[in-house]
């Protein structure tokens, strides 16, 4: 599962941040899952739990809060905005799976639903990120 690699990146980044902030313990991590990447929350959480079990230490009793962030795509040509859920019906399962691996492949497989331009931007809800870390010093 490719979610494992992303879960690992969350926890590695959290450890790096805790070292910068001289935290002895990470008490809470808030994670945003961008809608565009279509991460399976249960698999992602399973991966986080497994890696935390392996690492222990700084993650003992860490509260993990995962929220899905709605995606917004904005056309640079006509300024139309839309979301991944709007366009999901118009793409094949395989194209959706490609976007799951590399969200920017949306520029390959989709177009602005209003004017058909490939020149749009992902303004929200792209992929996996940490929105907040809390810890004890």
């Amino acid at each position: 599962m490719h979610e494992w690699a992303l879960a690992e990146s969350i926890l590695t980044a959290a450890v790096e941040e805790s070292k910068k902030e001289k935290m002895k313990k990470i008490t809470e991590i808030k994670i945003a899952l961008g809608e565009l990447q279509q991460i399976q929350k249960d698999i992602f959480r399973f991966a986080l739990d497994e890696i935390i079990k392996e690492q222990g230490g700084i993650f003992k009793n860490t509260k993990i809060i995962i929220k899905t962030e709605k995606s917004t795509l904005k056309c640079k040509n006509c300024e139309n905005t839309w979301s991944f859920s709007d366009m999901k019906k118009k793409i094949s399962e395989e194209e959706g799976e490609s976007i799951h691996f590399i969200p920017e492949v949306a520029f390959v497989h989709t177009r602005c639903p209003k004017c058909g331009s490939p020149d749009f931007e992902i303004t929200a809800g792209r992929g996996v990120s940490i929105t907040q870390i809390k810890g004890e010093k």
Partner: protein
Amino acid sequence: MDVRTSVIDKRLDKIKCIISVASGKGGVGKSLVSSCLALNLSKKGYKVGLLDLDIYGPSFHIILGVNDFSFPKEEKGILPHEISGISFMSIVYFSGDKPAPLRGVDITNVIIELLAITQWGSLDYLIIDMPPGIGDETLDVIHLIKKSKFVVVSTPSKVALGAVDKLLNILTELKLPVLGIVENMKINDLTLIFDYAKEKDLKYLGSVSYDWALEGSIGFPDKLMNTSFMKDFEKVVEKIM
């Protein structure tokens, strides 16, 4: 907070040597040099990977005749496909043959994503096929892959060398390791590239003569190995290693 860059070093830590094949100019044969370098090292018995970072014009799959574009297998990330003994990763597994009209920030995101999720495992060499120029991909490789060394390709052309010189100036300014310069498509006895290398105190890795029959071998790795290009290139590889 973008978390993906935190694991890139870990993904690359079992790779002994990373070589980015770059040029300031397009059309000088970077992809062919990258592909043949990977093929040659693989045939010598080394464990080799190739990462195609030419997002707009990926070429390795064409040079090696890849026609299986199925998704990479997933195992705590994604596993490269094996092509002629080479572990290979490219955007083509997700974009197919469609164009990828990406802006700079999106190119960077693709590169970070590929580096963060690809599980290369242990390799002797990872060859990175770079796009031309000193734009996003070059800056991303410099920024994200700290242990990359560079092989620079030029043709014996003042026009190509003008752009190659700019790339080399940046690499030198940043004190990055340049293994040397390869002169590709040599068609005469002019010593333009040799003299340039000498003047810049760069290693001249040798020349590869223009191979008029090469095009017929594109798409066929076994045929490629028997071209006069590959014969000339063997001497270049010895100097790179």
